[in-house]
Symmetry: C2
Subunit: 318 residues, 2 copies
Amino acid sequence: MNKILDICGKSNIMEPIRSFEQLTSHLQSLNKKPRIAVVCAKDANTEYAISRALGEGIAEFIMLGDATDLESFTSLRRYPHSVQILHIVDPDEAAREAVRMVRDGEADILMKGIINTDNLLHAILDKETGLLPKGKILTHLAVMQIPTYNKLLFFSDAAVIPRPTLQQRIEMIWYAIRVCRQFGIEQPRIALIHCTEKVSAKFPHSLDYVNIVELAEAGEFGDVIIDGPLDVSTACEQASGQIKGIASPINGQADVLIFPNIESGNAFYKSVSLFAGAEMAALLQGPTNPVVLPSRSDSGLSKYYSIAMACLTCKECL
Amino acid sequence: MNKILDICGKSNIMEPIRSFEQLTSHLQSLNKKPRIAVVCAKDANTEYAISRALGEGIAEFIMLGDATDLESFTSLRRYPHSVQILHIVDPDEAAREAVRMVRDGEADILMKGIINTDNLLHAILDKETGLLPKGKILTHLAVMQIPTYNKLLFFSDAAVIPRPTLQQRIEMIWYAIRVCRQFGIEQPRIALIHCTEKVSAKFPHSLDYVNIVELAEAGEFGDVIIDGPLDVSTACEQASGQIKGIASPINGQADVLIFPNIESGNAFYKSVSLFAGAEMAALLQGPTNPVVLPSRSDSGLSKYYSIAMACLTCKECL
């Protein structure tokens, strides 16, 4: 169990969060409301997500964008003290101003509405005025609630780094460990994914995995279990490893899947969402503050869960 | 509708096969029993698959391997006229003999039991005595029945070619088209999978896709719909394309997914099997005759469906 400080400053034992429902309850128990700067909200799914977060009482919002786009967001009018509107017509200007607010401590979390991802990233990555500290790697960490899996499943990277280097893979693992701890997972089980359990020079990432497992065994990552190469079924199903005669310390109970490349991470994310009815939350990793960067096609629920994940991992909440 | 010749030689209209149940019924209506040479069967899942195929009356079997391994296969004793046992202790010798039987027309289909895949492939790929015609590309085509999708979904390549070249992708598409036609799919919809819908020089396969779509539009592949790059959700869900404003002729109704690399194909296969309860069949493509090459961890049902797929695509059945 992780020790955390509760709102009275007392040391507390945290139960691991195993579902998005538990995530909301946990945030409500913290009784904190981080301020989320939302750039160019204009779609019904974003409205649903924000309205839900307001209803659950887990966040406050600053909406930056064309105020006429927000006129239809009638559900937000019920929370006049928790929603502030800044009328900025130009999307790039709205992005820059939202980033500035986060930098200057006027907001805690950044969230994308309907603006081109590249345009928002441009503001986030600006060396002078952005949110990514020098030398930090920008990557994507998502977490899925899959009806047929018994806990939340984190994975990286389905959206940002096409072919991670060894150093980038190590950073991805560090980010995942940090977030797992914030979810109360004492000893995260991290599976390094490949299409087989064999190491081969034909697949350079499988050689990276050998390095990473050695580092983990030497204690480099602290109290975690890291193993690979494993395929998705050996990582997430006990019977699969038994049939193949593979004894992995992950034991079919992975908390985190690290994918070898963006195509495999994305295929996993899209197919499990679509065919297994999974709901998802995701955040950029690397910036000083949580950044919620949903896809246009993400459901309102997924956008809400991403807000909740941001609230949990936000400095303001911890 | 595809025209096929029925057993009386009359021209017949074939309804598309949309489930594995329909596949079995269709095979039964053909009233043909291809002979399947099985190398080193010794596990319960293989026994189940063979016993089921015998019970459905869709095939006959020649079992090559250590006869003592087969002693526990009591379920096969019910079909003495449809099962022949060839006692060969050495697995490599059994593999070579099974391949010879297929080459010489004494068997129609080759199937792997519990023998190292590389050892069986060695016999299949032998330039003098194997089953792969010179210049033919060896690849893997699988088909899934996903409870949450309204038809069978074919995909390639989750198991053989790590990073296909343009020429290999074109061959993969040709194999998929041929098999789709055998399943009665008049105008197969083939989605070229990527993590986004954007073409970018950063992802060479997305440039291959542009070439392939041009070839398809020029009529090179006949009456098919080919589009890409698309992600899995845009390929298989209408709403997803609509939200993103993407007008693809696939229209969220893909019959075939061509994956950019083996990691993404394998992540799709393993995660949809595990989390969406999908059943699967798969065959090698390229050899003169169907080759069933299941994973050790495939279920008995998946092994049976692979046998059924082999029977459908076998020259003997057509």
